[in-house]
Structures are given as structure tokens and as C-alpha cells.
């Protein structure tokens, strides 16, 4: 789920539950999640870890 899609759904759910004040906090969380997903420690299925790649070459 992309962060934009998640945020739209989360804000809508919060409003449905009668918690509109959650919107600002969810926007803060969205920024933190963007930073978390952008960190270079995350693994991806299409990119081998550097250590593994070196082993394969060796």
C-alpha cells in the first residue's frame, strides 16, 4: 500500500470513527513512514544485498 493511499484511508476511517483530530497526527505518521521506507537499510526483492552479491561474484 502506498503512503498516499494509506493516509487517505486512515483519515477517512478516523473521521468515520468520530476522531477527526487524528488527521494531523496521521499526517505526521505518514511523514515518519516515508522516512522509514526511504532508509537504505530496507531490503528489496529485486536488489540483492551487497554482501550476497560479492559472495556470488567470489
Amino acid at each position: 500500500m502506498t503512503i498516499d493511499v494509506w493516509l487517505t484511508a486512515a483519515v477517512a476511517d478516523a473521521e468515520r470513527r468520530g476522531l477527526p483530530e487524528l488527521k494531523a497526527l496521521l499526517e505526521t505518521l505518514a511523514r515518519a513512514t516515508s522516512a522509514l521506507r526511504a532508509a537504505d537499510f530496507n531490503e528489496r526483492a529485486d536488489v540483492p544485498r551487497p554482501g550476497k552479491r560479492l559472495e556470488a561474484r567470489g
Binding site: W6, T33, A35, L36, F41
Partner: protein, 455 residues
């Protein structure tokens, strides 16, 4: 003001009694608690009985160790048998602990005297102690300011002489932040050292139990008693010329109040002048700490509170309720990313410590904030109070390394500043040896207390 060490010497020399010192603490509570709101419950009768028993046992030659007869306060997040554990929340109405938390049972076995249970940020989920069902605790150095949090009542109780030590918990800095804000010592042991059995959780993978005291030696005494080792004495300090410290620059020194930075620089200069070896280093991935911490603590807290957020939401204070609700929207994939990030950060801090005995850095980037402030000016930037207060302490909850906050002087307004030393994982005693060596040079003069216990 009387330290635990000095109390023990004078008690065993028959110069003072536990009953007398306990009574002085209770008098201080009577006098100052109406303005500080440090205590949720004062257990005067029980404390007098425990103190009387301690005096009788010591007179009969049954010495339980350095905490025998010592008046101690306890954060109202830990179970003490026969008392409610409120967590500063109406959600806990009707609770009664049937047994002691493991750490409290160890203190009881060590002969400690329990003077009462202290105020906190509701469910330990905040850094200021403002959101409490029992009202905010206040800073003894300036009543308009927060004592820090979440163990704010605990910090205020020791700084004001209402107890010789206190027990707090630390999930993102909740021992070290109030220790820094109130001008006392706060020890977060290595993760897993002290049992969290019988403690209301915030995050079971970030929570720590530890002491707030006046000195590092006292912190060592209480720490060992919490482990069940009631007779352990403080370790011998390392020779200062053998101490190797590292200042982490990136991230850790980026957001600092000018006076906090000045007190930190002055303390480091004193340590260098006296022979300590100090390097500057960088810790990679430090900028990722806040999002990693946030995703773990929010998700863990939401799991614990989900049922009561549905069944009794009106019993939470509004700010804590809404922050707990935020955690219910963290996605599983992002929680897993945060756990992976935690492992990376743990290795980075391990690597930074490979050639050093401890990291040295400020504890709180700012002096204690005004009660009610949601933002604070740091240099030319306005920062959210909560984020800036957690900034330098939460990294070591994420990684589990032991950390101790030590007073490092005061601002021109008289508010305490502090720095922290961070040691190797599972080596809290080694950190205490470093802290004992550094303390006389970090703390240029004792921060004045309002309490007068022990004359």
C-alpha cells in the same frame, strides 16, 4: 542533602535512624507535595512501620545491605502488593496489586522503606507529566516548568528531598529525561537487566526499569538491589586516564539549546583536562532513529490498549488517547521495517563503542520546558517539545544500550542541564565504573535542592 551512602554510614554509626529520616521525608512530602504534585499516593503509616522494623533489625544485627531503612518512592506504574497501580489513568480504576513487581520484591527484601507512589505521564506515554489523571507534576526548581517525564513525579520527589531515591521506567527516556530536568542522576540499565514483571507496559521491547538518585554511587546501590543483589557495593571507578569516550557528532549535536551545549562542552573540557581520552565519531543511520522508534512504540502501545480504547475511551486523557489511536494505523510491513532498522542501529552503536568505554552526549537538548508548551525555540528553529525531549534518549531504548544521565551544571535561569554516558550492551556495571570516574568532573557543583533531609 543526604545520599544513600551517607545515610548508611550514619545509620550504622547510630547517628540517625531510619524512622527519623523517613519522618523527615514524610514532613517534606506534607510541606511540598501540594505544590509539586509529585505523589499520587503517600503510604505514611506503612513507611513508618517499615522504618521501625528496619531500625529494630539493624539493632539486632540483621543488616540487609545498603538499602536497609532507605526511604524510596516508586513510580505508580509498578505493582506494590495491596495498592492500586494507577498508571496515572482512570482506565485503571479499581485495580489492586495482589503481589509486588519482581523488582519491588527485591527492594522489599533489601529492606527499603516505601514512602509512596509517584505521579507520571498517563501510561508513561509522554515526556512532560502534563497528561495525568491526577494533574501535572511540577519541577522543584521552577514550578512553572515540567519535571520531565514520564517519571516526572519520581524525579521531583528526589530533587525535593521527599525520598532518597526513586524507581522509574524508561521507554524513550522516561528515567533520564526527568533526571536531567530535575538535576539528579538517572540510570537506564541495559535492556533486560531489571525485570519488567509487574510493570504496566508501554512497549515490551523498549521498556526498562531503573533508579533515579542523587549520585552515581547511589544509582549503583539501587540498581543492584533491583536485581536482587542487595549487598553489592558500587564498583571501583576506572582511573580517569584510562577512560575512552566518544562524542557522536552527527544528529546528536545538531539540535541543542545554546546553554545546554555550553555546559556539555565545559564538562567535556574538564574531563579532557583531567586525563580522559575523548574522540569525535559519527554514528551511521542516526537520522533514522526517530521513525524507527515511533513505529515500534506506537504499534506496541496500541496492541496493549486496543481493547480499552474501544470499551472506555473517555477514561483516557485526551492527548494520550489520540496518540494511542494513532498507533492502530501502523501497517505490519512498516513495523517490520522498523524492527530491521533497530538491528542496524544496534550494530552501529556497537561499532561506535568497539574502541571506546562510553559515548558521551547531552541528555536533554533543552532545559525543562514550561508546562503547557507544545513547541520550543531551539536556536532559530521551533521544535515540537515531545520530539526534542526524546531526541537524545530514545536511540538507546531502540538499541538497548545502558545509559546514565548525570547533572552537568545549570543555565543562567538556574535550570539543571545534564549529559549522558552510554555503555556497551549487557555491561551496565562497566558503564557505572566509567560514570563513577567521570561524575566529579561532569558535575561542577551540586544542583541546589529544595529538600533538607538529613540536615
Amino acid at each position: 542533602m543526604l545520599t544513600i551512602e551517607e545515610f548508611g554510614r550514619r545509620l550504622r554509626a547510630r547517628e540517625i535512624s531510619s524512622a527519623q529520616t523517613t519522618e523527615e521525608c514524610l514532613e517534606r512530602i506534607d510541606a511540598d507535595n501540594p505544590r509539586l504534585n509529585a505523589f499520587i499516593r503517600v503510604t505514611a503509616d506503612e513507611a513508618r512501620r517499615q522504618a521501625h522494623d528496619a531500625d529494630q533489625e539493624i539493632a539486632a544485627g540483621h543488616d540487609r545491605g545498603p538499602l536497609h531503612g532507605v526511604p524510596i518512592s516508586i513510580k505508580d506504574l509498578l505493582d506494590v502488593r495491596g495498592m492500586p497501580t494507577t498508571a496515572a489513568s482512570r482506565v485503571r480504576d479499581g485495580h489492586l496489586a495482589s503481589r509486588d513487581a519482581t523488582s519491588i520484591a527485591h527492594l522489599r527484601q533489601a529492606g527499603a522503606v516505601f514512602v509512596g507512589k509517584t505521579n507520571l505521564h498517563e501510561f508513561a506515554f509522554g515526556t512532560t507529566n502534563e497528561d495525568s489523571a491526577f494533574g501535572p507534576a511540577r519541577n522543584p526548581h521552577d514550578l512553572s516548568r515540567s519535571p520531565g517525564g514520564s517519571s516526572g513525579g519520581s524525579g521531583a520527589s528526589v530533587a525535593a528531598g521527599m525520598a532518597l531515591a526513586t524507581i522509574g521506567t524508561d521507554t524513550g527516556g522516561s528515567i533520564r529525561i526527568p533526571a536531567a530536568a530535575c538535576g539528579i542522576v538517572g540510570l537506564k540499565p541495559s535492556f533486560g537487566d531489571v525485570s519488567t514483571d509487574g510493570v504496566v507496559p508501554l512497549s515490551r521491547t523498549l521498556d526498562h526499569v531503573g533508579p533515579l538518585t542523587q549520585t552515581v554511587a547511589d544509582a549503583s546501590l539501587v540498581y543492584h538491589a533491583l536485581l536482587g543483589d542487595a549487598h553489592a557495593m558500587p564498583p571501583a571507578p576506572l582511573p580517569l586516564h584510562a577512560v575512552r569516550l566518544a562524542i557522536p557528532r552527527n544528529y546528536f549535536l545538531d539540535v541543542l539549546d545554546d546553554e545546554v551545549r555550553a555546559r556539555f562542552d565545559e564538562a567535556v573540557t574538564r574531563l579532557c583536562d583531567e586525563g580522559a581520552h575523548v574522540d569525535e565519531i559519527d554514528i551511521h543511520h542516526a537520522a533514522d532513529i526517530a521513525p524507527v522508534y515511533l513505529h515500534i512504540v506506537l504499534a506496541d502501545a496500541a496492541a496493549y490498549h486496543a481493547a480499552t480504547l474501544e470499551s472506555m475511551p473517555e477514561r483516557y486523557t485526551p492527548n494520550v488517547r489520540i496518540r494511542l489511536e494513532m498507533g492502530r494505523y501502523v501497517l505490519a510491513e512498516d513495523y517490520v521495517r522498523a524492527l530491521a532498522g533497530r538491528e542496524v542501529l544496534r550494530r552501529e552503536v556497537d561499532a561506535a563503542l568497539a574502541q571506546h568505554d562510553a559515548l558521551i552526549l547531552p541528555t536533554l537538548p533543552i532545559p525543562a520546558p514550561a508546562i503547557g508548551a507544545s513547541t520550543v525555540l531551539v536556536g532559530s528553529k521551533t521544535e515540537p517539545v515531545r520530539n526534542v525531549m526524546l531526541r537524545l534518549t530514545q536511540p538507546f531504548n531502540v538499541t538497548g544500550h545502558p545509559a546514565i544521565s548525570i547533572p552537568s551544571g545549570r543555565t543562567s535561569a538556574g535550570m539543571p542541564c545534564a549529559l549522558q554516558l552510554v555503555g556497551c550492551r549487557n555491561q551496565t556495571d562497566a558503564l557505572l565504573k566509567v560514570a563513577l570516574a567521570c561524575e566529579p568532573h561532569i558535575t561542577p557543583e551540586p544542583v541546589p535542592r529544595s529538600g533538607k533531609v538529613g540536615g
